[in-house]
Symmetry: C2
Subunit: 435 residues, 2 copies
């Protein structure tokens, strides 16, 4: 049989990693597929010094790869959304199958790309877009296909998890760890995508669509970062038996779909609370299987390449009968459900509150009275020894509440912040039992 011919567009970390895996494991891949898989063309600005691609045709014209008749599968590994979208649509238009590792591209333009692919009867695969080397797309779309998925929750940004882990284990400040993460190359010079949860929201958008069979709708995802998490919050949470993780959560509720990325308190005996450093992890709750957890490297050249090349292997098997491929979002395109994504004010959650208050008689009872007025049940309270701050005695009051609608909690917090004894903003972190 003829070799399957790959065109790699973008020879950065992931692109060269994928080239390397294809080369190093060519024998193993041949044993699996029974067909030779060869990189015949590379589009990249220019080769870096350490990059050795043998005799492969390299040019800086990525669009030429998309139209090259000697390419069967285009690997879009450039990142970004503008040129990547054009490239992928052009490749599809030329009848090429596509593998991409680009979460932003899929989250923002996936609906358009999948429609184009269906028209041309080609496969678009994107396992590497979420959680790097963990085959979570495959697990949800295929491995758990018997289930009605009820919810999923993931640590899907390694940089954020690294920062929270360092803060927790070494008592270091957010800004200090962020700087180190940048030096280590985990975080970009502009860390917004990572620490503000945008990257995680891209991935969560994809996971929610394949879990529930809904169109991709990144614009509806709620996103809250970790830059306001303090070492105190991490310590108090730990005292109460919890860890703080930056989670992406997607859940079906009666009222609609919850789609949200934010710091979250999780009980310390939950396995996912113990996934540390740059590791990623995704919990999925299906009605038949119950809770499952998948962990692994969420980023990096080789783990991401692992997912890219697994997609290539899938396509090699299916390219002669692309109609047999799993639908892009795991559900038939005409079966996607039109279920509303809830605004964050309509979700229900338990909460951790930290209130700084002047050490005056009655402040704790004032706070609990307000919570009572809003029918918010209190699960635990810690009042910390007053400390002297600018010659004033300042109390920290930590409260864990029962589940309540977010809009009600926000109203209650506004009332607490109006108390004369309360200075400044109430810190509020959502909690989740993940059950």
């Amino acid at each position: 049989m003829k070799p399957v011919r790959l065109g790699i567009c973008g020879l950065g970390t992931v692109g060269y990693g994928s080239f390397t895996v294809l080369k190093n494991n060519a024998d193993e891949i041949f044993r699996r597929t029974g067909r030779e898989v060869a990189v015949t063309r590379i589009g990249t600005r220019q080769l870096k010094e350490h990059q050795d691609v043998g005799g492969v045709n390299v040019s800086n014209d990525v669009m030429a790869v998309a139209s090259d008749p000697d390419v069967d599968i285009v690997l879009e590994l450039m990142g970004g959304t503008g040129p990547a979208r054009e490239l992928v649509l052009a490749a599809i238009d030329h009848g090429k199958h596509v593998v991409t590792a680009n979460k932003a591209l899929i989250a923002l333009h996936g609906n358009e790309i999948f429609a184009a692919a269906a028209q041309k009867n080609v496969i678009v695969a994107y396992e590497a877009a979420v959680a790097g080397g963990i085959p979570i797309i495959k697990s949800i779309r295929e491995g758990l296909a018997a289930n009605r998925i009820e919810w999923l929750a993931g640590i899907i940004n390694g940089t954020g998890n690294f920062i929270l882990t360092e803060m927790a284990e070494k008592g270091r400040e957010f800004s200090d760890v962020l700087k180190q993460a940048q030096e280590l190359g985990y975080a970009e010079a502009d860390p917004t995508f990572d620490v503000e949860g945008i990257d995680a929201a891209h991935k969560l958008t994809i996971l929610a669509s394949i879990a529930f069979g809904i169109p991709l709708q990144f614009d509806k995802a709620y996103t809250e970062g970790i830059s306001n998490i303090t070492i105190e919050d991490i310590r108090y949470a730990r005292e109460l038996g919890y860890r703080i993780k930056h989670l992406g959560i997607a859940r079906r509720s009666e009222a609609g779909i919850e789609l949200r990325v934010h710091p979250t308190l999780i009980a310390e005996d939950n396995l996912i609370a113990n996934v540390n450093g740059v590791m990623n992890a995704v919990m999925v709750q299906g009605d038949a299987v119950g809770p499952t957890l998948s962990c692994g490297a969420g980023a990096g050249a080789m783990p991401t390449a692992s997912a890219v090349v697994a997609d290539v292997v899938d396509i090699v098997r299916l390219m002669d009968s692309p109609a047999c491929a799993v639908p892009n979002l795991g559900f038939q395109a005409d079966s996607l459900a039109d279920v509303a994504v809830l605004p964050i004010s309509d979700i229900t959650s338990a909460y951790y509150l930290r209130v700084l208050a002047h050490d005056k008689a009655g402040v704790l009872s004032d706070i609990t009275e307000i919570l009572g007025d809003f029918n918010i049940n209190i699960e635990a309270v810690i009042q910390k020894e007053p400390r002297v701050h600018d010659a004033e005695h300042i109390l920290s009051v930590i409260i864990l509440t029962d589940e309540i609608r977010e809009s009600v909690m926000m109203d209650a917090i506004a009332r607490i912040e109006e108390l004369a004894a309360v200075g400044g903003k109430v810190a509020r972190i959502r909690m989740d039992k993940l059950d």
Copy 2:
């Protein structure tokens, strides 16, 4: 399109669970496959009182299901190896696709069954045979297809993990917990398969074959149970920062394949050390992806049904082009490697030793001298306060060693047991860094 017609053979826990999942999630499955999936026939001794199968044709002749022209996919959910083998071979012979949850059947007769299926161009799927609802077969065969798998290690028997967890958390004796597990229905009346590691060895055999691309060879697996693990061992291990888990380990080494089930000390900060109760978990180390971990329910009606029905969904997609299906063991049948499985005496491992010795001067130095004679490095030693036993002072000496070939360790242990001050057998548990 015509519905896809299923024949269920065996309506026990897993069979009725699968029937239930197919019924409850029929809408969701239709949204995924675009085809109706209907159970048209059931072969079972007799329906139990609580079982409601609607108008489906039920008979006690399972072999008739295998030849029924109105059945496209046969679900072998009877268990056992004799009649199950005949049924599966008959179904294949009649051109039916097969789904089975039967680990013993695949471990013992998989090579024969897969050869027959290849002849008839039908699909045999067996995701439910290993780790219940965790889609670990799919993850290894497809999700990690880009990798050269280096090793895997799994908690793949829920009963054994339940027993060890109860012993560790509540300080209960093995026999006491086993009795409870039997009452809870976790363990069979004859618990040998679970506690002696045979069930785990069936599953490990399958995992090793799909990880390394080798034929199934259950007879080469080394199996050691948990019935000799004492509460003392669990406590001493914990003092040293370890947990004891009953692991199935498959590893490629220079000399060959390691294939072994036995109690194992694992560092407590490894996630898999914290997988407790009846949960299953499998770690897989691929050369590109690094370490990954998958956890979930390893048994039970609904989790196992989740895997059975996921296989049905896969087959529904692929049945018109069965050549596109993943090869049975993940590798082309003609590419399976003929690599020797190492005898246990040839493996290399670190060890935990517990020596009971009379409290005589020099006993510790005698022991360490013997280890030194065999070039066995000592990583840690605890000598426990002597306790009085039959009017004698008995020491417990706990030693953690560096890695050494098992045959050397056994020789050293024999020498230690010959010491006059040492009473009885040395307890020996393997340790693994899982790296």
